[in-house]
Amino acid sequence: MWTYEKQLQYPVKIRRPNPAAAKVIITQYGGPDGELGASLRYLSQRYTMPYKQAIGVLNDIGTEELAHLEMISAMVHQLTRGMTMEQIKEAGWDTYFVDHTAGVYPIAASGMPFTATVFASKGDAITDLVEDMAAEQKARTTYDNILRLVDDPDVKDPIRFLRAREIVHFQRFGEALRVVQDNLNSKNFYAFNPEFDRPRHR
């Protein structure tokens, strides 16, 4: 279970409202490579993961992604706090405003609401960990794209922190995959699925 800590993982202090930036950053809340999908991916995959190091990585990164979800939400909130109607219309935030005002709601940059179809929990250790490594790289690319689109240093600083975490997570998932493979038949990693098949006794 979880208990709440009354702090963000890294500070978010944005001085100027900027709904145009919020429009792209919100994709890391409810979009295809966002933090909500990331946390649900890892926290869902941990139940059937067979090896303790890999379980630990899924549990602890899944938990960290919840902290990232909160940072992104805080950024969207601060970027849309105190907006004028002119700023809303000029930035094209009006299509969000009409449904959610300045409330925080998980959507992709395209406007598509969050969907669980953005992640997988396949129930196969190799498959899931390879998905997780790809997911971290996709999120890293998204943060790189956000850094190309925004200029405000108040926004760039926490985005750079989140980008760096994707790289650390990619490394840890790679190590977890190696632990899994070290436990399998080195001549055929796919001889059985360690998340489903029971060991055979001769």
Binding site: R46, I55, G56, N59
Partner: protein, 82 residues
């Protein structure tokens, strides 16, 4: 108290803390509730300390690093068998 009994005690204290906190969110000046919260929190801290010393961590902050990284030792909470 054995391991299972102490673990269940921590679970109960943890829930009481949570439920009392929830009440205090809407009754932030209720002195009886505040004192009750304080009392249970103290029992909780002592129980967690005793459990962590004898059996292993509840949170990462409880890990005794002299025994290596016990955080990942099984069973994880969802692996308990009836």
């Amino acid at each position: 108290m054995d391991m299972a009994e102490l673990f269940r005690t921590i679970q109960i204290y943890d829930f009481v803390i949570h439920d009392t906190a929830l009440y205090l969110d809407t009754h932030p000046t209720d002195q009886i509730a505040l004192e009750y919260f304080d009392e249970i929190r103290d029992l909780y801290r002592k129980a967690v300390e005793a459990y962590a010393a004898a059996y292993g961590p509840i949170t990462v902050e409880d890990v005794d690093v002299r025994n290596n990284w016990t955080w990942i030792e099984k069973p994880w909470p969802w692996e308990m068998e009836a």
